[in-house]
Every structure is written in structure tokens, then in C-alpha cells.
Amino acid sequence: MVAGVDTRTGEEAASDESPRPGPREPARPAVSRPRSWYLLPAALLFGLFAAFPLVLVVFLSFTEWEGIGDPALIGLDNWVRLFGDQRVLDVTGTTLLLTVLCWVTQTPAALLLGVWAAGPQRNRAILSSIFFLPLLLSTAALALMWQRLLDPYFGLATELGPLRNLLGTGTGAIAAIVFVIGWQYIPFHMLLYQAAARNVPKVLYDAATLDGASRSQMFWQITLPQLRNTIITSSTIMVVGSLTHFEIVLLLTNGGPGTATYILPFEMYIRGFRALEFGYASAIATVLVVLATTVSLVIVKFSGFAKMRSTLEGM
């Protein structure tokens, strides 16, 4: 029964309760929940750095603005242009391709490494911390490092023979971006899976061992189902994250070769900072926000994550 939609009189509501036997619920102590002003710092920060810029960007998408001077309202012009822009369509395609490739490569690798790292093996702790290192470096530094490493004449790419022109081919450049993003972020997702895998009750494995299950059977029948919620969390972070990669493209491929690695955030940057069309760039930014929000909502909705059912139910 929700307050506010309850239109019955107090008497009716009371009579509804009365036949129910059992002890009365004890009254909650008034101090058990933080007062609402505790929210203030977080709400202020969120408002200032997330909500307000978001509103501003939506506003800017209805203006023409060079980044300096005064934005001039131009109505729906940017939006009309956006929906007829073949280039934005191509770029969105590349963005989705990159997102899918990132998920497909990172999830299995992170899952396997995480499950492995949760185990009791010798040297596990040392190796795990080494695997973790790339996450600690800044993306800009990583991108520049890989850019040098992939130089066809002076980098490690020289060893690749005919494949040394990796960044010079559309497929190669996308592969390189997927690889470097994976290299940086797999450790993070590995950490999620490691923590989750440690939480799987040992009794499940003990019982399975008694029943004569093999290791791979245990992985498929116990570990994987137990990690379901973590897979969803990790995938959401991964997919939404893939929609916002920017530095890596700017520094590793500069959108090239040609326009093969233009993705939406990069296109937004080009439109804004290189072409000084901040209004149009804001329209692209708004699309990105809507896209990322929709995708994460869809993941949560169709994975049953919203119900937050514990994987330990029935234990």
C-alpha cells in the first residue's frame, strides 16, 4: 500500500489491517535513517558536475555557438541536420561495432582471469597485481605508448612483417583500439569477477566434488550461474564505457586511417573543438547520453538485474 495513492478513509484502512494476527511491527526509531540534508553534498556535486552540464548541453544543442561569444538560438536546426547526417550514421555504426567487440573480447578474458585469481594457487597474488598494473596508468599515456609501439618502422610493429601497417588499415586500427582498451580495462573487470568468485559458497563445490563433477562442469554449472549479477554489472560498465572512449582514439589513431575509427565521442570533439560547431557537437553529446542511458536500462531490464535476486537464494 503506497501512501499518496491510498484514497480510502482511515477507518477502512484500519479495518483492513485489523484481522491480521501476529505481533505488531515495532515502531521504527526516528534516528535510524540519515536526515535528508545528509544528501546535500552529494546532491550539490551531482547537480553541479552532472545534472547542470547535461541541461546546458541540451540547451546548447538548440543554439549555434563557436565556443566563445554568445550562443544564438536556432531552434531545431542542429537536430534536423543530425538526423539527415550520413556521417553521423556511419560513426554510430563504428561506435556500436567497437562496443560489441569490446564486450566480446573483454568479458571472457576478465571472467576467466577473475575466477583464476580467486583461487588459492601459488604466485596468484603476485601475478594478479602485475595484471592489475595497466589500470593504474592514464589512458593518454597508454595510448601514446601504444602509438609508438605500433609505429611500422621504429616500433614493435616492425616485427609483425606484412601486418606492421596495423594502424594504416581500417580493420587493423579498430583491432588495435579494442586491444588497447582491453589491455587497460580487463584488470578492472577481473577484479570484479575475482571478488564475486570468492563469494561463491565453498559447499557448492564440495557437494559437486562428492557427486563426481569435473572442473569444467563445476565452472559451467556453479561458478558461471553464481556470477550472473556480476556479469551484468561488468557488462553495463563495459558497454556504457565503450560509448565514451575518446582519448584512446584521439591519440592512437586520430580517427584514421581516413575516417575508419571515428566514434561518436570523437566526432563530437571534432565538431566542437576543431570545427567550432559547439551547438551541433552538443546535439551529438545529447544523443550519446540518451544512447548510453537506454543501453544500460535495456541491459538491466532484460537481464532481470532490476529484481536484484540474490544468487544465494535457497541456500
Binding site: 561569444g69 554568445d70 573543438f273 570545427a275
Partner: protein, 435 residues
């Protein structure tokens, strides 16, 4: 049309959107903003150690005799313009900043953010006369001076490795057909004919710039820059792009040029090591080689004019490139007077000129002949000086000359020409679609 109070709006945007974006891309050495408090003014330049030696000479000299201390702040080429744009839109712009003239400051001049130097130059004729008029004028926007030449003149020059040419037994090409013949012979010798950092398409732009000028003269691009209808359809454009496609197909740039980025000096190292034979690049290539590969710069670095194209109507003496870089002054800083004094006292000083000459640059000052002895390579300095002095036209790089929103589509289309994904008709169409 409706507007917001500008300063307040910009402050908000600067805090919320721009700063976060740019913070990730630029590699600032020290300061993060353009703060000019406490008798200090910032001078923003690119992160180029070889060139900044000269700027330091000017700053040190200025600081000795001034209460306001100038401080050099450098940012990497990749992030410099974004950083500058955010700073110019804020309440805290740099007092003096390095720019490319033309499109790089047009928006700031239109928005009245820059000090108009015209009255100061007219007031002090001796100061004005210190700079080569064509180069000083190239920094004008709508007939007003907003920049003082702050480094060498940068025509695009055909560099070649003398040792490679000697070994293969060829001479520097004088015509396009000779260039094709030389290309084929060098390629047969297993050497890359032209070094090219094709990962950054602006390095490819030097080819159509020169070819179009040689084929049809400077007016072909002037019409494009002026935004004339159908200007891209000039037959000179089509012919130039077709010639470039042919050159790429001959393997003139090797098979991996699209993976080479400018930052990291991959292309320059290739020619210095003799793995590539030629490099069509700005005069800054010479400055970089003097610093990075001094042995090559001293012994084997050769340079010549861009070849003549048979049947072309352009003047063979015409040049393209960056007339120079400029220092401009922000109007909204507390140190405008000190900044003007800095430009007046230091930009044509003997010490500054000598430092540039020593670094391999040829500053855009008059009577440079007297100081040529200070140059590391007087022969090169004279070549550049004479090139500019004799040139009937000095075409500003296309990506700087066109309106900002047309530059990227042009570069993208050109990159696709080099990748073999677009032909001349496709290139013309891509540029027309953008405008």
C-alpha cells in the same frame, strides 16, 4: 536570436564541460590555466624544445628589465588549440599566445578578444619596418594586425637525403616527370621515395597545395577559400588529386605511411637514417633535424624547390606553407602594456633573431643578410629567405586558410585519397558536401 550574458555563461561552461574534455588531451607542463596574477604574465607556446630555446632567450632578456615577469608555458601540439580555445573563452586568457594567424585566431578577432596592434605598429614605424611586409600582412584579419611574427618563416620545402641520391645516382627533380622517374629508381633500390607521416593528414596537405598552385596558380585556391560556388571543381584540383593517386599507387610513400604519426618524428627519422629519400615538409623539418639528427643535418640534408608541372600556369617561384607563426595579445589581461612592450622589445631583437638562426629557423625580419653568420647553416637560411623574398605568392596552408568547419572534412577526404579510397571526383564531392 537570443543571447545570454556572456561572461557568466562562459564561466559556467568553462567549469563544467570544456575543462573536463580538454584536461584529458593536453599535456601541460605546469600551469593548468592562463592565470596572470601577481605581476606575472604567461606566454603560451608549443612544446617544442628545439624552438623554445629562442623564446626563452626573449623571455629572460625581457624579465631582466621588467617588473612584470613573463613565464613560458608550453603545451603539446595535439592539445594546444583546444586548451587555448577554452582559455580564450574564460576570464583568464594567456597574456601572450602563439598562433598560426588566419583561421586559428579569426574567431577571437571577431569576438574582440585580441589587442588590435595596428595603432601600435603605425605609431612606431621603426618597429613595423623590422618585419617583412608580406609576412606581417599575412597575419592581418579584416585589415587589422593582431599578430607579430614570432618565429621563422615556414615555406614547404622538398628535402632530400644527399647520401641516398648519391648512392642511387639521381639528381633532385626539377619537373614532375623527373620526380616520377626519380621515385621509380629510388623505389627499385629498396628505399622509400618519400617519407610521410600519413597518420596525420595535414602532412599530406602539402601535396595538393603545391600541385594546385603549380598547375593553376594561386587564384584556384583563393576562390575556394573565399567560398565561391563550384570552386572545388576547378580542373587544377582534379588533375592534382589524380597525380597524387598515381604517386601513391607507384609506392612513392611506402606501404605503411598511414600508420606513421607526426608526433614521434617517425617520418623525419626515416629520411635521416636513409631509409627514405625525400620529405615534402615545412622548414621546421630542418630545425627538428638540426636538434634530433645533427649529423644528418650537417652532412646529408639537401633541400630544393618543389618541381614544375608541365603545362601548369603557376609561377615556379610561388610557395606554400605557413608564412610564420605569430604572438597575439589577449585584451582581457591585466598586463596588456607589459605584453605589448614584450613584443616591441624582444620580437626583433638581435639576440632573439640569432637564437632562431642558430635553431635553424629564418625569422621574418628585414635586413637579415647582416646576421646570416649566426645561422647554423647559412646556405639553408639564405634559401628560405630568398624563397620568401622572391615568391610572388605565399599561400597559407589550406587547413588554416579555410573556415574551421571545412578543414576537417577536407583533411579526411585527402586522407582517403592517399588510402586509395577516393578518386578526384570523390574528393571534390566530399568538399562540396561539407560546404
Amino acid at each position: 536570436m537570443s543571447t545570454l550574458p556572456r561572461r557568466r555563461f562562459l564561466g559556467l561552461v568553462g567549469a563544467g564541460v570544456g575543462a573536463g574534455l580538454v584536461g584529458t588531451t593536453s599535456c601541460g607542463t605546469d600551469a593548468t590555466g592562463g592565470g596572470d596574477g601577481g605581476g606575472q604574465m604567461q606566454v603560451w607556446v608549443l612544446q617544442e624544445e628545439a624552438q623554445n630555446v629562442a623564446h626563452r632567450v626573449a623571455l629572460d632578456h625581457f624579465n631582466q628589465g621588467s617588473d612584470t615577469k613573463a613565464r613560458l608555458v608550453s603545451y603539446s601540439n595535439d592539445g594546444y588549440r583546444d586548451k587555448l580555445h577554452v582559455a580564450m573563452g574564460s576570464d583568464n586568457p594567456p597574456a601572450v599566445f602563439y598562433n598560426w594567424g588566419g583561421g586559428s585566431i579569426r574567431a577571437y578577432a571577431r569576438d574582440d578578444l585580441l589587442v588590435d596592434l595596428t595603432p601600435h605598429l603605425n605609431e612606431d614605424q621603426a618597429w613595423k619596418d623590422r618585419f617583412i611586409p608580406s609576412v606581417l600582412d599575412a597575419g592581418q584579419i579584416d585589415g587589422k594586425y593582431f599578430g607579430i611574427p614570432a618565429r621563422g618563416m615556414q615555406p614547404i620545402i622538398l628535402f632530400y637525403n644527399k647520401a641516398v641520391f648519391r648512392d642511387v645516382g639521381v639528381q633532385p627533380p626539377k619537373t614532375w616527370n623527373e620526380l616520377l622517374a626519380v621515385t621509380d629508381r629510388i623505389k627499385r633500390a629498396g628505399i622509400i621515395p618519400f617519407a610521410l607521416a600519413g597518420g596525420d593528414p595535414w602532412t599530406e596537405l602539402v601535396w595538393p597545395e603545391y600541385l594546385v598552385d603549380r598547375i593553376g596558380g594561386p587564384q584556384v585556391f583563393e576562390r575556394i577559400a573565399a567560398g565561391e560556388q563550384g570552386a572545388w571543381r576547378d580542373p587544377a584540383i582534379t588533375r592534382a588529386i589524380t597525380m597524387i593517386s598515381d604517386l601513391v599507387q607507384r609506392g612513392a610513400f611506402g606501404d605503411s605511411f598511414a600508420s606513421v604519426r607526426w608526433e614521434g618524428a617517425g617520418a623525419s627519422t626515416l629520411i635521416a637514417q636513409g631509409r627514405a629519400a625525400m620529405h615534402l615538409m615545412g622548414s621546421w623539418e630542418y630545425t627538428n633535424q638540426v636538434t634530433d639528427q645533427p649529423e644528418y643535418a650537417a652532412n646529408d640534408l639537401g633541400f630544393t624547390d618543389f618541381p614544375v608541372v608541365d603545362g601548369g600556369t603557376g609561377d615556379p617561384k610561388a610557395i606554400v606553407g605557413n608564412p610564420t607563426n605569430y604572438f597575439s595579445i589577449s585584451k582581457d589581461t591585466p598586463n596588456v602594456d607589459a605584453a605589448i612592450k614584450f613584443l616591441k622589445d624582444e620580437m626583433a631583437s638581435d639576440a632573439y633573431i640569432d637564437a632562431w638562426l642558430k635553431a635553424g629557423d629564418v625569422p621574418a625580419v628585414t635586413n637579415l643578410e647582416e646576421r646570416m653568420d649566426a645561422a647554423t647553416d647559412p646556405e639553408f637560411a639564405e634559401l628560405v629567405y630568398d624563397m620568401v623574398a622572391e615568391a610572388p605568392s605565399f599561400q597559407l596552408s589550406w587547413d588554416q586558410a579555410v573556415e574551421r568547419h571545412l578543414a576537417q572534412p577536407m583533411l579526411d577526404a585527402l586522407a582517403k585519397v592517399f588510402l586509395g579510397q577516393l578518386d578526384a571526383a570523390g574528393f571534390v564531392k566530399a568538399n562540396e558536401d561539407a560546404s
